[in-house]
């Protein structure tokens, strides 16, 4: 077990270093920069030079990389180059709670709705309930989130005017983004649970449980779910990470002041430090979540440990 964890941690660390390095050099290789002459036409060349020197952009790229890594080791992500007076740490601290809030809500919704739907679909295979949940699951998988968001926005914000299209702070602002975010996960969870449940209920130990006279609720709730839920555990790790760190499209559409929006804006603004900061935060968060899930999984299911 210790060896397994150690190996996974090592892989994650190498991945993280790779991500940071690739991002850094790729970003600097992109034509144009935060203070290139093309971007800021009203500034004199000398002023631009001074600004570039202020942010250390006049140094050779390798030197900049070394400086950045040194600061990063101290947990300092630098100052934003476009949002003056903000450090990247402050920006992340301000936007992460927003993303995490709707992300967590969406995950909880997805689990609460997806797991029972999948179980019902599997137990009543071929029934109307199965058909309905499979149709819903196919819709959730096939229609892109941003399309669903557009349609919901059109219907509920414009035609029915139940919700405002944007704004932030009150419960009514949460509802549509959360609904949009949780539809695809619901579909995936339903499908995963349904197929694993179908496999599990055919196993001998379930027949044994029935044979010794357990109630159906106990058979399913205590014995079947335990094994049927395993594929969902692997799915939920990356899901939690990606939803909590914000969805690029949903946050942009509903004007949610979360991380996803910062990332998209920073990329088109060439705000180097914010690009790096968000990438590192996002990557690290996803990797930690995946790692935790893998460890949990290996702990639940011994086969995984010995396989790898």
């Amino acid at each position: 077990m210790a060896k397994f964890i150690l190996k996974r941690v090592a892989i994650s660390v190498v991945s993280m270093l790779l991500l940071i390095t690739v991002t850094f050099f790729l970003m600097h290789a992109i034509p144009g920069g935060p203070f290139s002459p093309g971007e800021q036409k009203d500034l004199k060349p000398e002023v631009l030079e001074a600004i570039r020197a202020r942010y250390g952009l006049d140094l050779p790229v390798t030197q900049q990389y070394a400086n950045y890594m040194k600061n990063l080791a101290h947990g300092d992500l630098g100052v934003s180059m476009k949002k003056t007076n903000y450090t990247v740490n402050e920006l992340l601290a301000g936007s992460f709670p927003v993303s995490a809030q709707i992300g967590m809500l969406a995950v909880v919704m997805a689990l609460i709705i997806g797991i029972p739907l999948g179980i019902i679909a599997a137990l009543k295979r071929g029934s109307a309930a199965d058909m309905v949940s499979m149709v819903l699951a196919t819709i959730g998988i096939s229609i892109p989130t941003f399309v669903i968001a557009m349609l919901l926005m059109y219907l509920f914000c414009m035609k029915l005017a139940w919700f405002p299209t944007f704004g932030w702070g009150e419960a009514k602002h949460f509802i549509l983004p959360v609904v949009c975010l949780c539809l695809a996960p619901i579909a995936n969870i339903t499908r995963l649970i349904r197929s694993s449940m179908l496999e599990v209920v055919r196993q001998d130990y379930i027949r044994t449980a029935r044979a010794k006279g357990l109630s159906e609720l106990m058979v399913i709730g205590k014995h079947a779910i335990r094994n049927a839920i395993l594929p969902v555990v692997t799915y939920v790790g990356p899901l939690v990470a990606s939803l909590m760190t914000g969805s690029f499209a949903i946050e942009r559409m509903f004007m949610v002041p979360g991380i996803g929006r910062y990332f998209v804006n920073s990329v088109s603004d060439r705000d180097y430090t914010v690009i790096m900061g968000v990438t590192i935060f996002y990557g690290a968060f996803i990797m930690v979540c995946t790692l935790l899930v893998d460890i949990a999984y290996a702990w639940i299911d011994p086969r995984v440990r010995f396989d790898s």
Partner: protein, 324 residues
Amino acid sequence: MRKKINMFPEQPQPPYTMADKDIPAELFELLPEDEKKTDVINRPSISYWKNAWIKIKSDKLAVAGFIFLFIMVLIAIFVPIFSPYTYDGQDYNAIYQTPSMEHLMGTDMFGRDLFVRVAYGARISLTIGIVTALVNMVIGVLYGGISGFFGGKVDMLMMRFVDVFAAVPSLLYIILLMMFLGANLRSILIALCLTYWFSTARQTRGQILSIRNQDFAVAAKVVGESNLRILIRHLIPNSFGPIIVTVMFLIPAAIFDEAFLSFIGIGISVPVASWGTLANDGMATMGAYPHLMIFPALAISLTMFALNFIGDGLRDALDPRLKK
């Protein structure tokens, strides 16, 4: 001390023959003619691929998906050729028109015909889906195949490399690559091709690992075939079913990602119309002119439905573990 016990004292000691038992010949009787045939396998043997074909033909959703996709391909190829309008032709006398006989899906804010633009978007989306899937299949299958076939240190190195890259969310790589390469079709293709093949490689490796020591592979080795030939002629074809299923699901994933990137403004750039950009443009005016948003949204969604149905059908048909 244990005593030796003879459990079958009456048994004749070998060598002995049936004749020892002395069954009279008249006790034997001939089987009736028709009973002889019960042992014969009447059904003609069906190959793996033929079986898959029969299954997929009976899957109504998959067939519907194929038909829809075929029509979409025809639209993508022929509509931009034969339509009187072009995807970037502006007509300020006909802006924001609702669907009519002249403009089947209406026109946008520059008076561009939406039907042609959606058809043009189909070209982009289908190209992206198919090219990405094929390139990733080739890279993934070869990489995974080599890794699984040689095993040991080679396998370890190659798979750690994949682990390291795959641990990073691919969207981050794709967005950065897009910024680096510029917003056009070619860079999307490159970005998607560079990031998608991990799953195919992993899966192929698993498949190859599980069959590389089977008799037919060992036999090929004994006959003296080269490693490369064993891999390409014997191992890969035998693990192709599940791989094709994975690759099939790469097509909708790629189309999905392109639409998403274009939608958030870093995919295909104006005036070229991809479904993502069309949807994004449509969203800006959806309060007054919902058709500008609805037709691109429909095009994406229906195509995704069709591809997912085909993928599900292929999986049921090709994955032997799901056989009933």
